[in-house]
Symmetry: C2
Subunit: 422 residues, 2 copies
C-alpha cells in the first residue's frame, strides 16, 4: 500500500519460503524462531504444501490469542477461518446467508457510502441490497433511526438477514464510538440479523479521542442477553501498519454459529483447498509481532510508530487541505486510509456531465484525471445521497507526493469551478 | 506435495519477498535477476502490493511466451488470467457459463470418475452436472460415442454448454492421445460446447509412448474450421515437478472469447482484487525456469529430472503392486499423480457396508484407515460406474514410505477379503 514493508515481517516470510536461510545468523533470532514455528505447523514443514482448508492450526491459535489479548474474552481457534484476503471470507459469509426468492429473498444491509465489494457480492449472489445511509453532517455517524427506517422499508419486499458494518469506515473514515457499537448490536438482536463486522482497519485509528471497539468485545460486555448473538468479524494483512495486500492474507472469527451451519461453511471453503499459505504466514506476523525483550522489538516499534504517525499526519493534512478549498468539504479522517470529500458541483457542470451521458462526479473525476493526471474514484462507485457528489482518495502517498497532489488538485478544482460557474 | 522444493524457485520467491537480500551474492545471479525482473513488474516494486486483477503484466507475458514455446502458436498476454490456484479460475469460468432454468439451464459435462471440484462447483453454481463415463477397460480412455450418448440424453432435460476434460486425468491418470484430443475438439465444435481443458498435470507424464498434447495446439493445427473455437485452458503451480500448492498460483488462457464476455470475466475477477502476488511469482518460476548457460541451470535440471524420474518409478511401482494383489486391478498410471485401482468387493462386504449405512467403498476405506492407518479416498467421492468400487491414492510418498504403504495395504486387503469371502 505504498509504504516501506515492516522488516520483521519480510524476514519471517522469506525464511518460511526458503528454509535454507534458517541458520543464517544475519537474520535476527526472533525472526528465525518465528519462521521455524510457522513451518512446524505446515504440512511437510513447507509453505508449499496445502494446509487445512480453514488454515494452519498454529496460525489459528495465534489469531485466537491475539483476539483474546485485544478483547479480554476467550477466542476459540475452531472459530477462526483463514482466507484469501478479507474479501474472500466476506463473500463466503454472504453466500451462506443467501436464500429464498420474492419476499423471502435475503436482504443484505450495507452502509452508503460503502466499499463496493458489498454491492458486487450482493449482486453476484442474487441477494437484495438494502441501503442504510451514513450521516455525513455528523462525521458519517451510523444512526440507529436510519437503520430502523431501512430495515422496515426493506421488509416490504425482502427478508433482511444480514447487517454489514464497516468500522473504521471505508470510504468514509469514521470510527464508531463504543455507545454506537452497543446500539448496533442491540438493533441486530432486535431484528434477528446476522452481524458482519468488517474490522480490517482496526489498527488504523488516527483522530484524538477515537479508539477501536470490536463488535465481539462490546457484545460480550453486554452480557448474556447479547453475548450469544451470531457474529462474523473480518481482518486482513492488507491494512494496518503492515499493508501487505499482495500476500492476500485474511481471517474471520465466527462467533455463536450453529454447528450445522458451520459445517456447511467448512465444506464451502474446502472446494478451493486452502488460502495461500504464504498469506497465512503473513497474517501470523500481523497478529504476533515482536514482543518486548525480543531482538527485533525496538526496530519493529520504531517502524510501526513511524508508519502510524505518518498516516495520522496525512489523514489530518488531507482533510484540512480539502476544507480550505472553496466548494469542497471533508469530514475528519478518524481512521482507515481514505478521505471522501464532498464537492459542490455547479449546476452547469451537472448538466454538462448529463449531456455526455456521465455521472456528474464521474465527469469531474475524468476531468481531474485528464487535466491534472490525478486518479480518484467517483462517489457514485460507493453510493451517496441523491444530489450529492463525492470522490474517494487515499491518504497513502508519501507526504512529499501528497503535497504535490494537493497543489495540483487545488489548481484543477479552482479552474473547473470557474469554468462551470453558474 | 511431499517432495523437496526446487531450490531455484524458493530462492527467487524469498528474494522477491525480502528485497534486502537482492545484493546477497550467496544467491545465484540468475535467481537475483529473475527476482528483480518480477519485482520491477510489481506495483511499488513489492510482492506486498495489489497487482492488476488479471495478474502482473510481466508474468502474463512470461506465461504467454511459455505457451508459445510449448505449442508453436501465438499466445496473447491479454488472454492470460492469473488465479488463486487453478480451482479459482475453474470456478469463475463455470460461473460465467451458468444461466437459464428448466430445459435452458446450463449443463456442464464432466468425466466420471472426476476431480470433485467439478461436481462441487456445478452444485454450488446451480448448473446441471452431466456425466460422461471414462472407459476403465480401455485404460480410462475418453470415448467419443460415450460423449455423444451423454450430450444427447442431457438435452432431454437441460442445455449442455460446457465440456470439461481433465488431461492427464485426475483421479484416473490416463493421458489422451493426439487423435483423441482432435476428436474431442471436433465433438465440442459440433455440439457448440465451450471447452474447459484442465491441463494442470501437463508436466506429469510417465508412461512410455505418452506425450502431452495441449487442446490449444491441437485446435490450432486443425485449421480455420476449428481454430476459432472458444477454449479455456488451466494450469497451476501445485503440480508438475515443482508442486508448490501452498502458494496458490495458477492461470487460465482464454482463447477466442467474445470481447463482451471477456469484459464480464474481468469484472468478475476484480471483486476479489487480485490473486496472491507471491503465487503469481511462483507461477512465473514454473513457466520460466533456468535456461542453458544460466548459473542455476545444471542444478535445476538435476533436481527436475530426479523428481520426474522418481515419480515415474513410483507410478509404475504402485500400479504393478496393485495388480499383483488378488481382487485388485489398476490401470497404467500414464500421468498425473494418482492411481485409481478397482477392488472386487465380495457381496458380503457390500451387504455389511449397507447394513451400516455406508457406501461399500467407503466402508472398505474406513476399515483400511482403522486397521492399517492408511488413508485413501473412496471412489464414490469421484464417481464410478454403478456396482464398481475403487479408491484413489497418490504416488507422492517417497519410495521407502511407498514400500511400507504397499506392504501394509496388501496385508489389510488379504485379511479383509478373507473375512468377507462369499
Amino acid at each position: 500500500m505504498g509504504q516501506k514493508p515492516i522488516t520483521f515481517l519480510r524476514q519471517v516470510i522469506s525464511l518460511c519460503v526458503n528454509p535454507d536461510l534458517l541458520n543464517n545468523e544475519s537474520f535476527p533470532a526472533d525472526a528465525r524462531e518465528r519462521a521455524r514455528r510457522i513451518l512446524q505447523g505446515c504440512k511437510g514443514g513447507s509453505l508449499g504444501s496445502y494446509s487445512d482448508s480453514v488454515g494452519v492450526e498454529v496460525i489459528r491459535k495465534d489469531i485466537a490469542a491475539y483476539i483474546e489479548r485485544r478483547d479480554g474474552f476467550p477466542s476459540d481457534p475452531d472459530n477462526i477461518f483463514l482466507s484469501t484476503g478479507a474479501s474472500d471470507a466476506i463473500k463466503n459469509m454472504v453466500k451462506l446467508m443467501v436464500r429464498g426468492s420474492g419476499r423471502d429473498q435475503t436482504g443484505v444491509m450495507i452502509p452508503i457510502p460503502q466499499y463496493p465489494l458489498y454491492s458486487a457480492v450482493t449482486a453476484e449472489l442474487n441477494a437484495v441490497q438494502v441501503n442504510y445511509y451514513l450521516d455525513e453532517d455528523n462525521n458519517w455517524a451510523l444512526d440507529i433511526a436510519e437503520l430502523e427506517r431501512s430495515v422496515k422499508e426493506a421488509r416490504q419486499h425482502c427478508t433482511p438477514r444480514v447487517l454489514c458494518v464497516i468500522n473504521p469506515g471505508n470510504p468514509t473514515g469514521q470510527v464508531l464510538s463504543k455507545e454506537n457499537v452497543r446500539e448496533i448490536i442491540k438493533f441486530a438482536a432486535r431484528e434477528h440479523l446476522f452481524l458482519m463486522a468488517d474490522e480490517v482497519y482496526q489498527d488504523n485509528i488516527y483522530a484524538e479521542g477515537c479508539a477501536f471497539h470490536s463488535f465481539k468485545k462490546t457484545m460480550m460486555e453486554l452480557g448474556p442477553e447479547y453475548s450469544t448473538l451470531e457474529l462474523a468479524s473480518f481482518h486482513s494483512t492488507s491494512k494496518g501498519y503492515m499493508g501487505e495486500c499482495g500476500f492476500r492474507g485474511g481471517y474471520m472469527e465466527v462467533i455463536n454459529m450453529d454447528p450445522q451451519v458451520k459445517l456447511q461453511l467448512k465444506k464451502l471453503v474446502s472446494t478451493k483447498l486452502c488460502p495461500p499459505v504464504s498469506g497465512q504466514a503473513t497474517m501470523d506476523c500481523v497478529v504476533n509481532p515482536p514482543q518486548p525483550g525480543e531482538p527485533s522489538y525496538e526496530s519493529f516499534i520504531k517502524e510501526k510508530t513511524a508508519v502510524l504517525k505518518s498516516l495520522a499526519e496525512r489523514a489530518k493534512l488531507v482533510a484540512e487541505t480539502f476544507n480550505s478549498i472553496e466548494g469542497v468539504t471533508c469530514n475528519t479522517v478518524q481512521g482507515a486510509m481514505y478521505a471522501f470529500p464532498r464537492i459542490a458541483l455547479p449546476q452547469r457542470a451537472v448538466e454538462k456531465a448529463k449531456s455526455l451521458g456521465q455521472a456528474p462526479d464521474g465527469f469531474y473525476a475524468l476531468q481531474l484525471l485528464e487535466q491534472a493526471g490525478i486518479c480518484v474514484v467517483p462517489g457514485s462507485g460507493f453510493g451517496q445521497r441523491e444530489g450529492t457528489y463525492h470522490f474517494r482518495t487515499t491518504i497513502l502517498p508519501q507526504p512529499d507526493k501528497l503535497k504535490i497532489f494537493m497543489d495540483a488538485f487545488t489548481a484543477f478544482h479552482n479552474k473547473f469551478m470557474k469554468e462551470y460557474a453558474d
